[in-house]
């Protein structure tokens, strides 16, 4: 099976051609090794980093931005969002602090300081 993809690793956006034959996956059109890895992953197990915000309960009108520490499987994006939406956190918060642990195989971490 042949499939055309746009690489999203960097803003260059290479057009990749991914060919699948049984278990064998080959990638062409990439400008760097990361593109080859992306082509294979995107075809076999697509993942995304999810970013959102969590309310800071002890600060007025304040949100802290968060992300998944590692990319999560694409089909889990809305499971992750459901947990993030329910969460709240207390300041002080520092970049990298874990806001939620073990969410779809990774953690939710803060991406800014709220002191």
């Amino acid at each position: 099976m042949k499939r055309n993809l746009t690489c999203i690793i960097c803003p260059r956006g290479c057009t990749l051609t991914v060919e699948t034959e049984g278990d064998k996956v080959s990638v062409s059109g990439n400008s760097c090794p990361k593109g080859a890895v992306y082509g294979i992953e995107e075809t076999t197990r697509p993942t995304r980093t999810v970013t959102s915000v969590v309310r800071v309960s002890n600060r007025e009108d304040t949100m802290v931005s968060v992300k998944t520490a590692e990319p999560v499987p694409k089909e889990n994006i809305f499971d992750v969002m459901a947990l993030i939406k329910k969460a709240s956190v207390k300041a002080p918060i520092h970049i990298g602090d874990k806001i939620l642990v073990d969410v779809c195989g990774t953690d939710i971490v803060a991406t800014k300081d709220v002191l």
């Binding site: 931005s65 992300k67 970049i95 800014k112």
Partner: protein
Amino acid sequence: MLDHDIVVVGGGPAGMAAAAAAYDAGVKDVVILDREEENGGILRQCIHNGFGLHKLGRELTGPEYAAVYKQKIEERGIKTYNLTMVTDISADRVVTACRRDGIIKIRAKAVILAMGCRERSRGALNIPGTRPAGVYSAGTAQKLVNCEGYMVGKRVVILGSGDIGLIMARRMSLQGAKVEAVCEIMPYSGGLTRNIVQCLEDYNIPLYLSTTVAKIHGERRVEGVTVARVDENRKPIKKTERYIPCDTLLLSCGLIPENELTRTAGIPISPVTGGAIVDEHRQTEIAGIFACGNVLQVHDLVDYVSDEAEIAGAGAAEFVKNGSLAAANLQTLPGNGVRYVLPQRVSSEAKEDISLYLRVTQPFGRVCFTVKSGDEVLSTAVRLKAAPGEMEKLNIKSEKLKTAKEPITVSLEELK
């Protein structure tokens, strides 16, 4: 009247990188003036990832990228005046700013303009219809959702496929809204390809090209919009009109460099970029005043903003130390397929290699860029593709410039 060597107007990514670079180039008396309560500029609301791949070699979110530069400012002890709104810059480099405790005036040896840009508004777009609540610029919606935790709507149409529009299409979807359509008046998207993939395709959001919003409906709140395909003059075609029910319309229809202060100072502005005309140090036509970041030209990537700001910071430091910079005697001009080239002037005595930044006029396949002065070829570069939404960068060796006398022209040729 206060005195400082370098005053940086704006504490966003451009201002912070410029201030740090000026400091590193040996001018320690640098201050930043910023109207917000903390530095970071637009990055504070850009919570998505994808920043820093070029510049820092890792993928960060906007607030994380800002934090890297905030730390540089803190480590160097560079003072920031926050909640400080600059109201005037004079050609002789007196900066006037308004603060809660009153007005301050700073006399500077060099000024770096880093005020960023703002979004084109509904008024500027002249969209017909009623004036209900629920029409936001994409960036305003982004600030409300990401910084203030206020969800702006449930059923959304987005006009304009620039990067902010695409990012907000995904953001609204993640927060549970239904994004009915992204309409783009041009026959191609102005956003990065990767954003079309990961913001629209991932969430099955349709992108309608050559399509605009012809009318806004609703009394108190938006109830729907009429969309229509446009002809080659970008005028809506009546018979293609269709109604999309929605409660929110987001506008992502271009960014305008925020150059009111620049104009008051009498600095010439390029009608194409909307920013000042500059030399290779990013010095404007008024000596000692520099510009960088989105106030100079609207960028797609913050990484390039940081690069540009570092050039401006180093240039300003050199100006403060020497009292002048080598005259930029060579003009740069856009040729075939190129909309603009920046810087617009360069010096044949440039000590270091120079990068020319440019945008093309329309999407192209494989192209070859040629930089020429008269008949002499200064540099060539092949790209697999070129699009107006993706800024190009071409390098010229400084020794090539030494013999150049005539204007430098950048043109492209499409390859088979």
